[in-house]
């Protein structure tokens, strides 16, 4: 297997782990952690493709990953703010109990 294939397999495994976490955990914060893992797996793909591409001096893949990191940070801040706000209303972070849309 080429080195790039190894990195892509690791990223696929990490993405699947993050997806499993986001889909199976009860706690909303751990669902967010799963989403972060999925975003990181995508970043690993971008950087691996950048490293093994014929024109790394164009910096396209790495710039995409850096911007993705910035957007993920914004997403984490808003997501955790939402979790805290919901917790204040319902006194729970259990997603199975968040089954109504009334405030």
């Amino acid at each position: 297997m080429t080195p790039l294939g190894g990195y892509l397999l690791v990223a696929a495994l990490l993405f699947a782990i993050g997806l499993a976490g986001a889909l199976t955990r009860r706690n909303a914060i751990l669902v967010l952690i799963g989403i972060e893992l999925m975003l990181n797996a995508a970043n690993l793909n971008l950087i691996a493709f950048w490293r093994y591409s014929p024109h790394p001096e164009l910096l396209t893949g790495m710039m995409f990953a850096v911007f993705s990191i910035a957007v993920a940070a914004a997403e984490a801040a808003v997501g955790l703010g939402l979790v805290i706000s919901i917790y204040r209303h319902t006194r729970t972070t259990d997603l199975d109990e968040m089954n109504r849309m009334k405030g």
Partner: protein, 166 residues
Amino acid sequence: MSAVFWILAALTVLGGLAAVTLKNTVHCALAVTVAFAGLALLYLQLDAQFAGFAQILVYIGAVAILVVFAILLTRGSETPKQGIFSRSWFTGMTIAAGVFAVLGWAVIQSSQVLPDETVAPSVTVNQIGNALLGRYVLPLEIVALLLTAALVGAVIVAMHEKGESK
């Protein structure tokens, strides 16, 4: 494939696995920090120093701390009585396993045609700065706006509402 790559890959994947399977939420936050650190080291292994250090600063420095704060503020470290996995865990596991099967199959099928440059790219921070303020200046400005909006939005969303009985 070097031994360093396999060690870092094992560290990252084990950190991720621990983060989604451990019972105690604080332990999950620590495990996901290990996974982020492993990813940063993988970026360094891929000659992307800038992205690696940005990963350390943003994820280990900021996101992990935010997660710990959210856990402490929501008393989420208590293990719920009904278990840590939701009612629909079997469907979730099936979907995740299916996604991994498809992705792994695609990677293995295409491994013959993947590019394989052996020359390591030498990118200086000077080049990255020039690219950020030249070719990528519009995305940079949009990200700046997004971060400001997210900062204000997160504060407004999590702010204590007026008139709420406490």
